[in-house]
Amino acid sequence: MKQDSRPINVSVTDLAVFKWPIMAIASIPHRVSGALLFFGVGFMLFALDMSLSSEAGFETMKSLMATPVGMFVTWVLLSCLAYHFVAGFKHLAMDMGIAETLEGAQIASATTLFLSAILIGLAALWVIWGGF
């Protein structure tokens, strides 16, 4: 393929001069949370494996999740799951032609950010108190 000089992508330093519409702000965490979840599956399988291995394994996993590191990992994974879940449904709605106008996309992005912020807050409360 012949090389041409059209800009295909931008350098990191260009990010500062970009405008950041709310759609972009809502889109980036979707990608970041997806990447974190891809590597987080390892933690989830580890937790599932240990919790199902035996009564003792279940109790060990429970106490691991109650340590500060365990609580933090649990909260991060739940937060990523929450954000990816909400933003994913926004995508599915857009596939069906919903919120494709500029204004519609802005509302959908704000709704995504708002709903996932609530869910992330609830996840923090759940992790801290170990249930509602």
Partner: protein, 122 residues
């Protein structure tokens, strides 16, 4: 057009459909497990293992595992092919991207085998 050789189905439209179908399976599975955990605040081993040993739940978990692997691969492939590119990092990009993608494929296979072992191994 660049021939894609490392995406899941070798076809963008098929990848797109797989991503949507698996997202719905994973959303349903997430709600299912989350609902169970929230409804059982004093969860013990008997209840927990009984839940996952139920044959309907075994099938659902296997479906979610396959969906996780497919969805995760399509997602991470997209990220790798967006950012690990020559005009961002020079000619080393191809090698880095290939290494990253091979690493992620191996991780995905490991997840699948580990998940199968958890489900049917015990």
């Amino acid at each position: 057009m660049v021939t894609q050789s490392a995406n899941l189905s070798r076809n963008g439209v098929t990848d797109w459909i797989i991503q949507r179908v698996t997202s719905l399976i994973l959303a349903a599975y997430t709600l299912c497990v989350l609902g169970f955990v929230l409804m059982n605040p004093e969860l013990d081993y008997e209840t927990w293992s009984g839940y996952f040993n139920h044959s309907a739940m075994q099938i659902f978990t296997m479906l979610a595992l396959v969906s996780t692997c497919a969805h995760g691969w399509i997602g991470i492939w997209t990220i790798g092919s967006d950012y690990l590119r020559e005009h961002l990092m020079g000619p080393v990009a191809t090698g880095i991207r290939l290494t990253f993608q091979i690493g992620c494929v191996l991780l995905t296979i490991a997840y699948f085998l580990w998940g199968m072992n958890i489900l049917w191994g015990n």
